[in-house]
């Protein structure tokens, strides 16, 4: 658009300039006349430009076509880039999800009022630990939980013991100590709100929450 306008203005300017020079040479006129003449002299300029509009129109059309082409290409490029970014994002998310899944240690369960790791719990932790060697930037919070029986306070202490036992076992398996945090929720966050042994057994647990590296 800018370029077309420039061409038209240039042509008009050249025409009017030559006309002024011509008339200037033809007669000596008063300032007033000159001023009067300047206007009509200028007036034909667009008229002069008009006949030369045929090539200018072509140029504009070409310009337009070119521009549209460019716009299309740009849109396509942008679309492609966007798709690529989305794909990359999806892939990254999938990768992160895969890593998180790989790092997710299943809950381990405890006996009533106990915090020693049972053989099954130990196996679970042994299976879970190697992934943490593979992804050294990922961190872990071990939550200790209890069933609803007994006091809130004793259970907070017991939950801390459970979290600490699991964390200690993971450190012994080679995960750096500073990558693991522990927290006890005592009996305050049951996964099963039931009031029987089946529910209690599910609630006496250590739960593992993986934290990706903060960027």
């Amino acid at each position: 658009m800018k370029r077309t306008l420039l061409a038209v203005v240039l042509i008009a300017l050249v025409c009017s300039l030559s006309l002024t020079m011509l008339s200037g040479c033809a007669k000596k006129a008063s300032l007033k006349d000159q001023a009067a003449m300047t206007a009509p002299a200028k007036a034909p300029a667009p008229a002069m430009a008009a006949p030369s509009a045929t090539p200018a129109d072509d140029a504009a059309a070409r310009e337009k076509a070119l521009r549209e082409q460019q716009l299309r290409e740009q849109a396509e490029r942008e679309k492609a880039a966007k798709e690529a970014a989305e794909k990359a994002k999806k892939e990254a998310a999938a990768k992160l999800a895969a890593i998180l899944k790989e790092l997710q240690i299943p809950d381990v369960y405890f006996d009533f009022d106990k915090y020693n790791l049972k053989p099954l719990a130990q196996t679970t932790l042994k299976n879970g630990a190697p992934a943490y060697m593979k992804y050294p930037d990922y961190k872990l919070v071990v939550e200790g939980h209890c069933d609803e029986r007994g006091t809130a306070e004793y259970n907070l202490a017991l939950g801390q013991k459970r979290a600490d036992e699991a964390a200690k076992f993971l450190v012994d398996l080679g995960i750096q100590k500073d990558r693991i945090k522990t927290i006890s929720y005592g009996k305050e966050m049951p996964v099963d709100k039931g009031h029987d042994e089946a529910a209690w057994a599910k609630n006496r647990r250590a739960h593992f929450v993986v934290f990706p590296p903060v960027k």
């Binding site: 009022d113 609803e148 029986r149 007994g150 006091t151 809130a152 306070e153 004793y154 907070l156 202490a157 017991l158 801390q160 013991k161 600490d164 522990t182 927290i183 006890s184 929720y185 005592g186 305050e188 966050m189």
Partner: protein, 438 residues
């Protein structure tokens, strides 16, 4: 609690002004006696002190509210007004205008009369407690406030009645703090001793547990997870201003305060294991009291502050232990059962209440602080937990959980006269009784 203070300012002790009878030094009711019987008391409908002196429902409202509050103490039988003989139209509210034989005839031993009068926004009330058998005034009070203060006036006088007849102030200026769950969060609430005036104290959208009143009732220590870790907070009860006080790695739990409010026992896992520390509140300096690789939790001071009861699983299962205030001389107190927690030392000093597991259910027990055979106070198929003593040592509040319901209950220290303070669908737990808040 703010309006209570206002009322106290407005209260006029009217004994001398009105020329009421001399104060009785005698303690009328020995409620600690095993043969104690509830005392029959009559409460006459209150009278307008001048014609058209107040709303028409006031005479019955004052009598009923006072009766209900005295009833919850467990020390009175409130006589039915249908049995009253005295003609209310002819009788007054003074000793001279009372026909005492009309009251002894229906079995009353004590009688309360009173009157009221409103003047614009001002409400003036008079309360008189009579010994019916002797035909004399025991205590009389006049209160001045607004009609909104009338419940407080009744509670104040109920306190006076308790003080006069039992030698100890009533508990109408005490509150029970407790934890109430809602979904995945829990918050602190307070409720008055008579079950009225439920108030929510915290609203952190997090887990808030373990309320512990300071001995002057002005501060409340508790643990909250709002910053992602169970940290100890101190709250100024009046202003609501709350500061984070202890936030070590792991568990931070408050235990009992010292009487001067300068020291707070705490359970911390900062040294890698749950241990009990005595913390200087102002400087946060810690003195470690336990050194066992086991759970040590729930420390509570004896009233003389020479000993500390606490829970430890150092011998396998959680049991109540007692140690000296410096952490020395540890001895195991409970020997029966495999799960004994939540010790609460009686303000009278001799007994410790706790919760213990019996056939899979938790029940409240008391045991002599020096050891001995525990006495079971609660029974039945629900879990009874977290006992807390009233400041006079006459009642225990505790939580009850079972059959899909959850309650805070109060009973006499001998296990009698159970009543529900608050009931909800979800967890009401960890009640803690305040001192007198004046």
């Amino acid at each position: 609690m703010r309006h209570l203070k206002r009322l106290i300012v407005l209260t006029v002790v009217a004994l001398s002004v009105l020329g009421f009878g001399a104060a009785h030094g005698k303690v009328y009711i020995d409620i600690d006696s095993p043969s104690f019987q509830r005392f029959p008391i009559a409460i006459a409908d209150f009278k307008p002190l001048s014609p058209g002196a107040g709303p028409g429902d006031f005479p019955v409202w004052f009598a009923d509210t006072l009766g209900r509050n005295l009833l919850v103490t467990g020390y009175f039988t409130v006589l039915d007004r249908k049995a009253f003989l005295e003609d209310p139209a002819r009788a007054g509210i003074t000793g001279e205008t009372t026909r005492f034989p009309d009251w002894t005839a229906i079995g009353a031993e004590y009688l309360i009369k009173g009157g009221f009068q409103t003047d614009g926004r001002q409400l003036t009330t008079e309360f008189r407690l009579f010994d019916v058998v002797r035909g004399e005034l025991i205590v009389g009070k006049r209160y001045v406030g607004t009609p909104d203060d009338r419940n407080r006036m009744v509670l104040q006088f109920a306190n006076e009645v308790l003080q006069a007849l039992t030698g100890e102030a009533g508990l109408f200026d005490t509150w029970i703090a407790f934890v109430k769950r809602s979904g995945d969060t829990s918050d602190l609430y307070t409720i008055s001793f008579d079950g009225s005036d439920l108030r929510r104290l915290t609203n952190y959208g997090s887990l808030t547990v373990s309320p512990r009143w300071s001995p002057d009732g002005r501060r409340l220590a508790f643990t909250c997870f709002k910053d992602g870790n169970p940290d100890i907070y101190l709250r100024d009860v009046k202003s609501g201003l709350t500061e984070k006080a202890v936030s070590y790695r792991g568990v931070n739990l408050p235990g009992s305060w010292s009487r001067d409010g300068e020291q707070l026992l705490v359970t911390l896992s900062r040294d890698g294991n749950q241990e009990i520390y005595d913390m200087t509140v102002s400087s946060r300096l810690l003195r470690r009291l336990t050194r066992e690789f086991s759970i040590d939790v729930s420390p509570v001071r004896s009233p003389d502050e020479k000993q500390i009861a606490f829970v430890s699983n150092r011998q396998g299962s959680p049991q109540i232990f007692v140690m000296d205030a410096d952490g020395g001389n540890v001895r195991r107190l409970t020997t029966e059962g495999n799960y004994n927690t939540s010790p609460a030392w009686s303000p009278k000093g001799k007994r410790i209440a706790y919760e213990g597991s019996v056939s899979g259910r938790f029940q409240i027990f008391v045991i002599d602080a020096a050891g001995g055979t525990p006495q079971q106070l609660t029974f039945g198929g629900s879990d009874h937990e977290s006992p807390t003593w009233s400041p006079d040592g006459r009642y225990l509040a505790y939580s009850v959980r079972g059959y899909g319901r959850s309650r805070i209950e109060i009973m006499n220290a001998n296990g009698q006269n159970i009543r529900v303070l608050h009931e909800g669908n979800e967890g009401c737990q960890s009640p803690f009784w305040s001192p007198h808040i004046r």
